[in-house]
C-alpha cells in the first residue's frame, strides 16, 4: 500500500529525513514512532503529497506521488498534524465542502457525510461551528474528513496529541476500529499508543529508520533480555548492592507493603544468565533473600529508549562519556 524507498528531505541545511525506506502492507495498522523532531510529520507530509522530497520515491497504492499525484492522493485520507480546519464553517458544511473537493458525487455526498460523522462520533455536532469545538472534537472532525470517500489508506499525524486521557482512549479505539477496512499509518511519540492500537510499528529517530516490524519484533529489537527479581530486605541494602551493578540493573523499586523490592536485570541475551547469577550471589552474600526470579518482557518504552539511545549517546558524547541509566 505504501512503498518508501531511500527517501530524504532537507530543509535548507537541516536534514529532516535521511535515506528512509519502509513498506506498509494492505490492511495493517502501523504506528509511526519517533521522538519529537524525528521527522515523522515531514515524512507523512511527503507521503500525502504536501511536500516534495529531496531524493527517493514514494508509491501509494502503486502510484508514484511525484509523478501521478492525483491518482495517489485520491487513494488516501490524510489528517495533518494539529488538524487545521476553517473555524467559521459548521462541521457539516466543512465535511460537505471536503466531500465535494474529494470528488464524492453530488448525490452521494449527504449520505457520505452522514456516514463519516457517525463513524467519527461527531453526528451530534454537524450544526456546530468548528471554532466552538473542543480540541478533541476538532480532531475527530479531522478523522471524519480523512474517512470521506472511504480511501483505502489513512494517514493520521498525531491524532491524540493535546487530548485528555478520555479523549485519547476514544480516539485510539476509533483508530483501532478502522483497521479492518483501511490500511492505517498513524504517527505518535507515545509508545503505549502503538501497543494498544497498532499491529506493526516503524520507529524513526533523527530522520533515520531505527526499527520496523510487528510489535513483538520491535520489542526484541532492543536486543536485551530481561529478568525480574523479587528481593526481601531493607531498601538501602538492596540499593547498595544494585548500585555497584547499575549498568545491568535497570530498575529497582521498593515495595513498602511487603518489605520487598523489585529489580530488573537487562543485558544482551547471551550474557543475561551470567549477570543474573552474579546478582543473585551478591544479594545472598549481603544477607538479602531472593524470593523470585522470572523472565520479564521489555515494555515498548524501554525498547524505544534503548533504540534511540545510541543516537543520543553519540550526540552527547563530548559532554558525557558514560550515559546514566535510570
Amino acid at each position: 500500500m505504501i512503498e518508501v524507498t531511500h527517501l530524504s528531505k532537507s530543509y535548507g541545511s537541516i536534514a529532516a529525513v535521511r535515506d528512509l525506506s519502509f513498506t506498509v502492507e494492505r490492511g495493517d495498522v502501523v504506528g509511526f514512532l519517533g521522538p519529537n523532531g524525528a521527522g515523522k510529520s515531514t515524512t507523512l507530509r511527503i507521503l500525502a503529497g504536501f511536500l516534495g522530497m529531496t531524493s527517493g520515491t514514494v508509491c501509494i497504492a502503486g502510484h508514484d506521488v511525484a509523478l501521478e499525484r492525483k491518482q495517489a492522493l485520491s487513494r488516501l485520507g490524510y489528517m495533518p498534524e494539529a488538524c487545521p480546519l476553517y473555524p467559521e464553517l459548521k462541521v457539516g458544511e466543512y465535511l460537505r465542502f471536503r466531500a465535494e473537493l474529494k470528488g464524492v458525487p453530488r448525490r452521494a455526498r449527504q449520505a457520505e457525510v452522514g456516514r463519516v460523522l457517525e463513524l467519527a462520533r461527531v453526528d451530534d455536532y454537524a450544526e456546530v461551528v468548528i471554532g466552538h469545538l473542543s480540541k478533541g472534537y476538532r480532531q475527530r472532525v479531522g478523522i471524519a474528513d480523512a474517512l470521506l470517500g472511504s480511501p483505502p489508506l489513512l494517514i493520521l499525524d498525531e491524532p491524540t496529541a493535546g487530548l485528555d486521557p478520555n479523549q485519547i482512549r476514544e480516539v485510539r479505539a476509533l483508530v483501532r476500529s478502522l483497521g479492518g477496512k483501511h490500511t492505517v499509518l498513524v504517527s505518535t511519540h507515545i509508545l503505549t499508543e502503538v501497543e494498544l492500537a497498532c499491529t506493526r510499528a516503524i520507529v524513526i529517530d533523527r530522520g533515520r529508520l531505527v526499527a520496523e516490524g510487528s510489535i513483538d519484533e520491535i520489542r526484541r529489537a532492543g536486543g536485551r533480555g530481561r529478568v525480574a527479581l523479587t528481593v526481601r530486605g531493607s531498601e538501602s541494602e538492596v540499593r547498595r548492592v544494585c548500585e555497584a551493578r547499575s549498568e545491568h540493573v535497570v530498575e529497582c523499586e521498593a515495595i513498602a507493603a511487603s518489605g520487598t523490592a523489585r529489580l530488573v536485570v537487562a543485558a544482551p541475551e547471551e550474557e543475561l544468565a551470567e549477570h543474573t547469577e552474579e546478582l543473585v550471589r551478591a544479594l545472598t552474600v549481603a544477607g538479602l533473600g531472593v524470593r523470585e526470579v522470572v523472565p520479564a518482557m521489555a515494555t515498548l518504552e524501554q525498547v524505544f529508549a534503548e533504540l534511540t539511545r545510541d543516537a543520543a549517546v553519540a550526540r552527547e558524547a563530548p559532554k558525557r562519556a558514560e550515559p546514566e541509566r535510570p
Binding site: 487545521p84 467559521e88 464553517l89 473537493l101 474529494k102
Partner: protein
C-alpha cells in the same frame, strides 16, 4: 477542474462571515454614495449635459475618488486568500486533496473577483437614479463598469499574488497596496515625462487615462490587453509560488 467550484463557494462564504468584509463593503458604499452625491450636486445647476462631461463621466473618470477605495478595497479583499490559510495551516488539507494548483488559484481569485463585483453592484442603483431624471448613455455606463472591472481584476490578481508570498495578511495587504500604488504612479508619468518612449510606456499603463477614456465610452483594446496581462502574470506567478511551497 475538480474542486474548483467547492473552493470558490467556500471562499465567498468565508469572506462574508468576517466582520472586516462588512466594514469594508459598507465603507466602500458610503464613500461611493457620497462621491456620487457630490457629483450630482455639482451638476445640478447645469442644464446642458454633454456626452463628454456628465455625472457618469465624472463618476468613473477625472476623479481620484475612484482609485482611493480601490487602493484599499483590493488589498483587503485579497489579503486572506493564501496568507491566512498558510498561517492557520488549512493550506495543508487543501493542497493534499486531489485538486490541481491552477484550480486552487483560479477559485480563490475568481471568488475575490465575484466579491468585488458584488461590492460595485449597488452603485448601478445610482445610474438608474440618473437615468430616471435625465438622459443617460448606457454605452458610457457599460464602458465605465468595464473599466472598473478590468482595472480591479488586475489589482485583485496582484493582491492574490502578494497573499501567496507571505503568511501575514497585513504584509500581504501592504505589499499589494504598494504594488498597486506603484502601478498607478507609473501611469502618472504620462503627465511628467517629456515626449519619448518613457512617456509612451507610462501612458500605456496609465489607469487614469484608461478610466477617463472608458468613462467617455472610448474602449481601446490595447488597454484591455494590458489589463489582461496584469491579471495573467500575477496569477501565473501565484501558481508557481504555490507549487514551490512543496519544494521549500
Amino acid at each position: 477542474m475538480t474542486g474548483f467550484f467547492a473552493i470558490w463557494k467556500r471562499e465567498v462564504f468565508s469572506y462574508f462571515v468576517t466582520p472586516l468584509a462588512w466594514v469594508t463593503t459598507t465603507a466602500f458604499l458610503v464613500l461611493q454614495g457620497l462621491h456620487f452625491y457630490l457629483i450630482v450636486a455639482s451638476f445640478a445647476g447645469q442644464l446642458d449635459l454633454s456626452a463628454d462631461a456628465g455625472p457618469v463621466q465624472t463618476f468613473f473618470g477625472q476623479t481620484v475618488m475612484l482609485y482611493l477605495p480601490l487602493l484599499f478595497v483590493c488589498p483587503v479583499l485579497t489579503m486572506r486568500s493564501f496568507a491566512e490559510e498558510r498561517r492557520s495551516g488549512t493550506i495543508e488539507p487543501l493542497l493534499t486533496a486531489p485538486v490541481g494548483t491552477v484550480s486552487v488559484v483560479l477559485a480563490k481569485y475568481l471568488a475575490v473577483l465575484a466579491t468585488y463585483v458584488a461590492m460595485w453592484a449597488p452603485t448601478v442603483g445610482y445610474m438608474l437614479v440618473l437615468g430616471r431624471y435625465g438622459e443617460l448613455d448606457w454605452n458610457v455606463v457599460a464602458a465605465g463598469y468595464a473599466a472598473v472591472l478590468a482595472v480591479g481584476a488586475g489589482y485583485l490578481a496582484i493582491g492574490t499574488m502578494t497573499s501567496a508570498m507571505t503568511k501575514s495578511q497585513l504584509a500581504a495587504a501592504i505589499a499589494s497596496a504598494m504594488a498597486i500604488m506603484g502601478l498607478f504612479m507609473l501611469g502618472l508619468g504620462e503627465f511628467i515625462f517629456a515626449e519619448g518612449p518613457l512617456r509612451d510606456v507610462a501612458s500605456h499603463v496609465s489607469v487614469w487615462t484608461q478610466m477617463n477614456d472608458f468613462a467617455r465610452g472610448i474602449v481601446d483594446s490595447r488597454r484591455l490587453v494590458f489589463d489582461a496581462s496584469v491579471v495573467v502574470l500575477p496569477l501565473f506567478i501565484t501558481v508557481r509560488a504555490v507549487e514551490s511551497w512543496r519544494l521549500e
